[in-house]
């Protein structure tokens, strides 16, 4: 795992503005994430969460402002294989097995595939039975699990996850959340995790970034004061319920109603 200087933030976004024609997707957004921090982002759909993540990952160039990943520009981070993306749809290649999908990203990045290690990771993620299965044979949840293992296997120190559980049912979601927490705890990875589910954001994050739309902007940053390790049972505690309620209030306060437009 590449160790960077302790003082440089893992992700540093300064006055980032992204405009698409007449839409201001992000309006002067600033955000700093410490190495090893798990930061979640919530907000209504269309508030620029995906745009923020894509900008951090160097897939979207800013209209104005600056993005740094590990003290460097996102392109250098891409080049160094230091960015692990997990998209909302799993983006597994249907002509490759689960294992091949996991190793293929490393090959694309010009690295050794490390098949044995990849197999171990799949087994550890509870996917031992489907190592050689085609994505076509797997459920959506399993595919997304493979995609997460793939991002881990890349060895990136920064993981960017865009509503990775968005297409999964409620029960599977929390299973997946638990397994993401497990693999994050054992590493020193930084995670920026987008979701539109407030409970999910609170369950996972050290910090919840709250966004609002029209224009897309960050309206608050809430530290989550729940002890780790967290599990599904965490969601039954009053502390959890209160944090969720607090964030929902913030969201409500900034909601643009149809009447405002």
């Amino acid at each position: 795992m590449p160790r960077r200087q302790a003082e440089a933030p893992a992700i540093d976004v300064r006055d980032l503005t992204v405009r698409f024609d007449d839409v201001c997707a992000l309006d002067s957004v600033s955000l700093s994430v410490d190495p090893g921090e798990f930061v979640t982002v919530v907000g209504p759909s269309g508030c620029g969460k995906t745009t923020l993540l894509r900008s951090v990952g160097g897939l979207q160039s800013p209209t104005a402002g600056e993005v740094r990943v590990g003290g460097d520009d996102p392109e250098s981070a891409q080049d160094a294989g230091d960015l692990g993306f997990v998209f909302q749809s799993h983006t597994l290649f249907p002509w490759k097995t689960a294992l091949e999908n996991v190793t293929f990203l490393r090959t694309l990045a010009g690295r050794e595939p490390e098949r044995d290690r990849a197999r171990e990771r799949l087994v550890a993620a509870g996917l031992g039975d489907v190592v050689d299965a085609s994505p076509r044979e797997l459920s959506g949840g399993m595919c997304q699990r493979v995609a997460i293992v793939r991002a881990m296997h890349l060895g990136a120190s920064t993981l960017l996850m865009d509503e990775p559980f968005g297409e999964l049912d409620e029960l599977t979601r929390y299973d997946m959340a638990a397994s993401v927490l497990d693999s994050w705890r054992d590493s020193d990875r930084t995670v920026l995790f987008v979701t539109h589910s407030v409970p999910e954001a609170v369950l996972l994050g050290d910090r919840v970034i709250v966004m609002a739309d029209s224009p897309g902007r960050i309206v608050d940053s809430v530290s989550v004061s729940l002890a780790r390790p967290r599990a599904e049972a965490t969601m039954d505690s009053t502390a959890f319920t209160e944090q969720v309620a607090g964030i929902r209030q913030i969201l409500r306060r900034h909601r643009t109603t149809l009447a405002d437009r």
Partner: protein, 250 residues
């Protein structure tokens, strides 16, 4: 993205046999004179009576189909990759590519005669022209439909362009490329037969022409059934290739 399925032999063979039986029944029942429509047995007798004639003709046609088809599909594939890979190029030439697909290539035939004379090259060139544009359009369409998320994934690790092209875009394009090949297989046979009409030197097309001039529908139908056999075999071979690729690659 039609799934490539092996032909359902049983049904198609039954249909063929049925058609021949209907044909035989029709001829016998209405006592159709042989100079209009010969009995299928008569056609069979023609084929077996002089197998060398038909085999030579089939060989001449097949060589044109293979050489012209390979050249044309390869050129069409490369053109399609270039056009599918470079969006400005697609915007610039796709309307013409699509228009060229419906252009009757026969209209260009006289030009080929001027360039290449009445020889083998004209036949091959004509076959190549027949398959070039459909192949280019299918390939380009295939290369343009790589899911954006797959390209994003590759971009997120700064994957080199050639690797993206070969390892991601090509497999996603494969069903369309194979579709283009299947289309080309039949078009190439049609092209070869047409070319043999206006070059008129050898092959099944030439045999059909001569048979028609001499009012020999039995020879004509015998030659036509060989054309059918050549086209069907080629189409089947491409189909098997597609099925094999699908199993190996996806």
């Amino acid at each position: 993205m039609n799934p490539v399925r092996p032909p359902e032999w049983g049904y198609s063979v039954a249909a063929l046999v049925g058609a021949v039986v209907l044909w035989a029944g029709f001829v016998s029942l209405f006592d159709v004179p042989a100079y209009l429509l010969p009995h299928p047995l008569e056609v069979g007798r023609r084929l077996l009576g002089n197998p060398g004639l038909y085999a030579d003709a089939a060989l001449a046609t097949t060589v044109k189909v293979i050489v012209g088809g390979a050249t044309g599909t390869l050129a069409g594939f490369l053109l399609g990759v270039a056009v599918g890979e470079v969006p400005p190029l697609w915007r610039a030439v796709s309307p013409y590519l699509i228009a060229a697909r419906v252009l009757p290539v026969v209209a260009i035939a006289p030009l080929l005669l001027i360039y290449f004379g009445t020889g083998f090259a004209t036949g091959v060139g004509f076959v190549a022209l027949m398959v070039l544009f459909p192949m280019a359009v299918s390939t380009a369409a295939g290369f343009r439909q790589t899911p954006q998320a797959a390209l994003d994934l590759a971009a997120s690790v700064d994957a080199p362009r050639h690797r993206v092209l070969l390892a991601i875009r090509l497999p996603y394009a494969a069903p369309d490329v194979i579709g283009g090949l299947r289309q080309s297989a039949t078009l190439a046979v049609v092209g070869a037969v047409l070319a043999e009409w206006f070059v008129a030197d050898s092959g099944l097309g030439y045999l059909i022409l001569v048979a028609a001039e001499n009012v020999r529908p039995d020879v004509l139908l015998a030659a036509l059934s060989v054309v059918f056999l050549v086209g069907f075999s080629l189409y089947g071979a491409v189909g098997l290739l597609g099925a094999r690729f699908r199993r190996a690659g996806g």
